[in-house]
């Protein structure tokens, strides 16, 4: 459903790149109150953002493939996509690579996205849904449209993650004009994409948000998980401001679209 929107999104991205100057002007007109370029001396990240990559299918380079249901023809087939992994290589440990292969074989049932589970970080940032950043001075809220998942980045009073969780525990700091967020306390239930790339509960994600211009954030994340990978590795992609007139974050509470799948076998038989 979201997917057909990808080509439209790609068009918007192309436009944004080609006409970034005029888009900037538009953005200023559409959002009169996101005004200040800086907040308390720091860059202003407030607004509605979205990645325009095919990374939710596979964070690595991938060719096009058929979708899971031939009846849906081209609409739910997988388009080719350029990955977001630096060097395109994910340094799995040998046993983890075996697991990743298994995950891929089982992807149409095992991907946690299917069940509307919170996507975790970093995946939430490149799913084909927008998210809103509300940036205060001591806290920064990230509210994702998918499954109403969210997190609050603590810029002060940093804490150790109290318990493992789906969206992790985010402590933030500024390095110059770059917002750096360390996400720990991640559980081992989330995946990086629909192709079975995964991690353990030892994963630490260090995100870096840098404004390229008022409508583009350069996003980068370093993944460290010695239980799964032989070395740290990086992903990067731009986040684009949604510039449509009156672009608003909507709601995708997907639980009810998963209940037949999850509980269907427990429905009282009608006879």
């Amino acid at each position: 459903m979201r997917h057909r929107y990808l080509s439209f999104a790609a068009a918007v991205a192309a436009l944004a790149l080609t006409f970034s100057v005029s888009m900037k002007v538009l953005s200023a007109q559409n959002a009169p109150n996101t005004a200040p370029a800086r907040i308390d001396g720091k860059p202003n990240f407030n607004g509605l953002w979205q990645a325009l990559t095919g990374a939710n299918w596979d964070i690595q380079d991938h060719s096009s493939e058929p979708g899971p249901y031939y009846q849906l023809g081209a609409t739910f087939a997988i388009p080719a996509g350029q990955g977001i992994v630096e060097g395109n290589e994910i340094p799995y440990r040998p046993e983890a690579l075996e697991q990743r292969k298994k995950n891929r074989l089982n992807r149409w049932t095992a991907d946690p996205e299917i069940k509307c589970y919170m996507p975790g970080i970093p995946r939430a940032n490149y799913m084909p849904f927008p998210f809103t950043i509300v940036q205060g001075t001591t806290t920064i809220a990230f509210a994702y449209e998918f499954a109403t998942s969210n997190r609050v980045v603590r810029m002060t009073n940093h804490q150790k993650a109290p318990v493992p969780s789906w969206m992790g525990w985010s402590n933030g700091r500024w390095e110059g004009d770059t917002l750096v967020v360390e996400v720990t306390g991640n559980n081992d239930q989330t995946w990086f994409d629909r192709s079975g790339n995964f991690h353990s509960d030892a994963m630490k994600v260090t995100e870096r948000f840098t404004l390229r211009n008022p409508d583009v954030i350069d996003y980068e994340a370093t993944i460290e998980d010695p239980k799964t990978f032989t070395r740290p590795w990086k992903i990067s992609f731009p986040l684009y401001r949604r510039l449509e007139k009156n672009a608003s974050q909507l709601e995708f509470k997907c639980v009810e679209y998963t209940e037949e799948l999850i509980y269907g076998h427990l429905r009282k038989p009608t006879n």
């Binding site: 806290t139 509210a143 109403t148 789906w166 009156n246 608003s248 509980y263």
Partner: protein, 348 residues
Amino acid sequence: MKHRFLITAMALLIALAAGSLLVAVPIAAQATTQGAAAAWTPPKTPWGDPDLQGIYTSDDYIGLGMNRAAQYGNRLYFTEEEIAAREKTIATTAQRDAVEFATPGGNVGTGPPGHWGERARRSPRQTSLIVEPENGQTPALTEEGRQRQAMYTRQGAGTARPEDSWEGYTSYIRCITRGIAGSVIPVIYGNGTEIVQGPGYVAILQEMVHEARIVRLDKSPHVGSNIKTYMGDSRGYWDGNTLVIETKNILGNKTGIGGNGGGTPFSEDAKFTERLTRTDKDTIQYTMRVEDPRTYTAPFTFTFPIRREPGYQNFEYACHEGNHGMMNQLSGARADERAAAEAARQNR
């Protein structure tokens, strides 16, 4: 984290709700809000908005009913004596909660102890959450509202056999949402609300079922009327030091003002106006006015304070991800049915 105990919690909640119907209380919310607000000036954010940021809980109003108990009539506040009596009960409860071991030979039971939920730290001053109308009672349902209530009751949340299917349970038990009103009204736990502000935005994050409402302050129009969502479409503005939020476009026939969003569901034409006023360093007076002429014969307003408490914070509430309660209720019901069928076969 506390989810595994949803069933017990629900039972308690139903008991509380039933109790509160008998114990309604009166309130003059608007007066409270405005009087207190006038007396205290909140700090400002660096971009000049009143600063409401922080993590707050409505725990002190746990168990206070929406409707006022008959004995209080039109009286809005408890007397000092009534408050003293309630404080005494709170102190006794706290003492009981602190007991680590059961008395040998005592009656222990198998349910979780009450203090696994949250407790009020101090007595409410109000006699009911509802302050408009003056009698502190939820206005009567319209004919359409009554029909919707009847359908809601049939569908689950009470009579028939909700365990026939997940569809028989409320949006809350299904871990979808508690809806816009249900997400703020105090219940037995998970009452935390975190407010994060940025220029042009306020984010309201509620722990239970992990809600994240984004309120735009840019005077932009609401989204098109064909776009309906559980939590609706919110726009806000500042009225002096008060954040006013107007919400429309909710999905009709989903959630209401009962515990955790249960009760008679609102219509899709419902409109909600919230007012948040910081009245001192640690307190925000929260007010919601509901206008839903298809469901209620008159508009009504409820209000209560939410407070910052030392050490209180929000945790991730992965409700759907951990919804073993739903799985267990459905599989338990099917097992019962199989056992009954087997017994019937053997008796033939």
